[in-house]
């Protein structure tokens, strides 16, 4: 029974949008993570971070496969065949990696936002979606442990490391609201009982959870940004950094989308 069959047409369309948003988030952050491969600050960390990159790309594949079962478009077509204007990821995730402090701060706060999202999905009554959310949550446990370990280490690793990680947090928080951009279809998913609350309403709890987590790492949670400045990646408002990423990522696949690679 394809996913969401018991929903209305609008409900299925809304669910497809939510899955696409999550898939694009995971694909884009997974791609950025993979760019560290062979260049992480310690050979042992290089191996660990490459696993985190594979986890995110694998999670994206799981979501694209769910969309494939609903819309018939192949997972590689979904991942490699869409222009920047159709990508639903938050702009925070498309930003270039910067230094190790930015990479760790961004990944950690994204993992916290993702955890909130997955906790909500793990309670939804669509069994297929619930199972996928459960599996992803198990692997995200390691991401949170890895991020916390590094934030503790950097915050207590001397003045330069501490100032770099605090500066990175300022940059990340400025764009983290974009992870919770309000979307028109949210209300339909709540109305049809797929999720209990609108994902964009998780923002306050995200800030509280992040504040607690950073405090135990000995770090300050930067203040919120005024509402007007929020990025709008989820409705096509992307940066040149995403266009360049997609151009690189699709270089071979787009040279012949009908060939088998």
């Amino acid at each position: 029974m394809p996913l969401g069959d018991e929903l209305s047409a609008e409900g299925r369309a809304a669910l497809g949008e939510y899955l696409l948003l999550m898939a694009d988030d995971e694909l884009v952050i997974g791609h950025r993570d993979s760019e560290w491969c062979a260049f992480a600050p310690l050979i042992e960390e290089d191996v660990a971070f490459a696993s985190i990159a594979q986890d995110e790309i694998s999670h994206a594949a799981l979501f694209y496969e769910l969309i494939e079962s609903m819309r018939g478009l192949g997972r590689d077509q979904l991942a490699f065949g869409r222009p920047a204007s159709e990508m639903r990821n938050a702009t925070l995730l498309e930003r270039e990696n910067g230094d190790w402090a930015f990479t760790i701060a961004r990944h950690y706060l994204y993992d916290l936002a993702d955890e909130l999202r997955l906790e909500q999905l793990a309670k939804c009554h669509l069994p297929t979606l619930r199972a996928v959310a459960e599996r992803i949550r198990r692997e995200e446990h390691y991401h949170l442990e890895h991020g916390a370990m590094w934030l503790v280490r950097l915050s207590r690793g001397g003045s330069e490391a501490r100032s770099r990680v605090q500066a990175a947090l300022e940059r990340v928080v400025r764009e983290s609201r974009g992870l919770f951009q309000p979307m028109a279809w949210e209300q339909i998913l709540v109305a049809e009982g797929v999720i209990a609350a609108r994902p964009s309403h998780l923002y306050q709890e995200f800030r509280e959870r992040a504040g607690t987590a950073l405090a135990t790492c000995g770090l300050r949670m930067p203040p919120d940004v005024p509402p007007g400045e929020h990025p709008r990646g989820r409705t096509g408002g992307h940066t040149p950094e995403l266009r360049e990423l997609l151009q690189t990522m699709g270089e071979v696949w787009r040279s012949d989308p009908t060939a088998s690679w």
Partner: protein, 309 residues
Amino acid sequence: MSDGRLEAFEARIARGDLVEADDWMPEEYRRQCFRLIVTHANSELMGALPEREWIPRAPGLKRKLSVLSKVQDEIGHAQMIYRVAEDLARPFGISREQMLDDLIEGKAKFHNVFSYPAPTWADVGVIAWLVDGAALETQGALLRTSYAPYARILRRICAEEAIHLKHGEDIVLTLASGTRAQRAMLQDAIQRWWQPLLHFFGPPDELSPNSERTFRWRIRTRTNEQLRQSFLRKYAPKVLSLGMEIPDPELRLDPETGDWHYGDPDWNEFWRVVKGGGARTEARLELRRMTREQQGWVLAAMADPTSAA
């Protein structure tokens, strides 16, 4: 006094005994092992770079994951091998940091093949299949090395290389059975990689003092030429069966001996590359130098005593 120990050591080796990290060993044995092992570690680290360029471009989610996983394994191999090299070189006062500095400053050697460009997706298949196939020949032979910590990690390295080989085969077979453009891309990659593959095993062993001792102490157990022939026996027929040409007009199988005859693979090119003259050598070493500078602060943060938990 130590002569007694040298005899006893050599008798043990001749009996097939193995040497552990904290056993007594002649300084020359330690030096020869270290030379071989640190070159292997450098090759794994540098060897990751040509394929690494294709992680961001790999076509399709499965290929993106498998190329990333393979390069991750190569970095994992480098980690295991540097650890063995570090324990071996502690009496010489050489640290991992020193080994990485020597590599970056062009003072240390690594396998010739990783100085060549990988300009197309077909290179990813050919490297994973044929270069890893060549590496599996040399590493398989080292499984019987007398230095036990190295032999132990080689068991895991060879098991992982065998999976890389299948990943490479899968790409090559897909291209070989694909469009005309894909077959042409594959042929072009084989054209570029064939000579470096013959160079990979090194020139035929002139019994230099180095190689004589490495055999007597069973650090190495098979000569360069034996390894090259073993590679040709396995892979030349398979490349030809794909309908691909091998760029060596003199290449033919000698039915009596089962050996492959091949044209002279220009050993001057080999020595030029090994001494740092490869097309991509400098660019890749520069990449590693830049990374080290940008990330010095992270290493400082890790070593900072004030932060010890």
